[in-house]
Subunit: 143 residues, 4 copies
């Protein structure tokens, strides 16, 4: 399962170096996997309303090139592994020129309202694991 979304870098998200601050990529990753979920027919808000909270257990990011203020970035998100207790995503962030800015991956666990580990909602186990491919330029140039 792979999807793409576009996010424009906000002024407040840049830092003294004039670039997108590195912590904000995690916010973009989160928005991107939410949009992927929406494409699959589910909203994360509904999941939480049903008592399923997906929390980040682990993440890795590799920064390749800086992103700048007002750039429209393309985030390609892939579900790389889905097990009853774990959901893994891979993210590739491309700049306006189609070059890879940043790539990362996260491992999510599922907890209930008290923070106790519970199995993932059935929705995910119904979708088979997806092998991740290598970084390619975005499917379509961002607007």
């Amino acid at each position: 399962m792979t999807g793409e979304c576009q996010i424009r870098v906000r002024y407040a998200e840049t830092d003294r170096m004039g670039l997108l601050h590195h912590a904000n990529y995690l916010v973009y990753f989160e928005q991107a996997r939410t949009e992927l979920l929406r494409q699959m027919g589910l909203t994360y808000r509904d999941l939480e309303d049903q008592g399923f909270y997906l929390v980040v257990a682990k993440l890795e990011v590799r920064y390749k090139r800086p992103a700048h203020y007002d750039d429209v970035l393309t985030i390609r998100t892939t579900v790389t592994r889905s097990s009853p207790v774990r959901l893994e995503h891979k993210y590739e962030v491309f700049g306006p020129d189609g070059q890879l800015c940043c790539e990362g991956n996260t491992t999510l666990a599922c907890v209930d309202g008290e923070g106790k580990i519970q199995p993932m909602p059935e929705f995910f186990s119904a979708n088979p694991d997806q092998p991740s491919g290598g970084a390619r330029p975005p499917l379509a140039p961002p607007a």
Copy 2:
């Protein structure tokens, strides 16, 4: 009631201009009024645990001089008005040189867990209104 606290400007809080981004002053105001409450013997966390949620109903900010990365700012916070339904604060933010960077004021209302307006906790009505003074340099130079 007046108190002071110090906050150091973080890298992630600066923007492309190399200055503290203007939205972050609201985060500093919030931290400053929380610290004032703590000095008065109450934590805002306890208030929420007891079902009192203080929400910002109105605010005003006037920006005078920029604050820079790594500056230790002094925020002086004053309760300027306390009524059964409203709590007003004034904030003055001073740079490392003691000059006024920014001043603001907020009006808080109290809601319950469902977001319905309710009277302020008795703690506040027990503390008489405090007239606000003019901007003065910080009581003590920041460390």
Copy 3:
């Protein structure tokens, strides 16, 4: 001059109350006035590249109703005053149901790369002042 844009509330922008944190409205205002500028044929990035930095000198916000995670908000932005030294905007933020969540206004000044006040770029003085109207529901319902 009036324009509208839509912004979806991100998870990272909510707080312990489960609502959009009040400081993030300023980030939305900033994005909204940037998009209005873009509609007028100018990008704020270009302005900065030409040495014109627009800084917030003053702002006011009145919070009416909470905005929630994943809500698509409509921000209507109006230039309410344009003088050689000042640019004023008004913002109205509407929830998915078309009701007013928040309104605010900002006063911008123009500085150069050293932070010295300078006249606004001619672009703005060429556009006549715009009186501000009262709050109305969004022109079109958000997607």
Copy 4:
């Protein structure tokens, strides 16, 4: 080289789950390594003023337990490797009860004002590499 600093979780840094949002740990890591540098007699601001910009090239985070609003966290930061072109840190974040909330590591590279890779400032190569130890509770309980 190891140091510790304390950071209190701000309201604006929590999210709808009522916990510290996972992206904010990166901001804490950054503040923690800046404070470690300060203890070593150098400020990162000075480094940038001299034309040395340290950028995050890679990072990993493992989240163990949630951190809550108003918690005072202890961040222990260790320089785990220092080479002419790379600086590696390890971070351990402990909650008020001394239990490990989160651990991470970053790899920094050094660039000049144009973003070109350059050798690290001599200061770092003068400090020998430091092996990293296992997670231990904080040296002193947070205030």
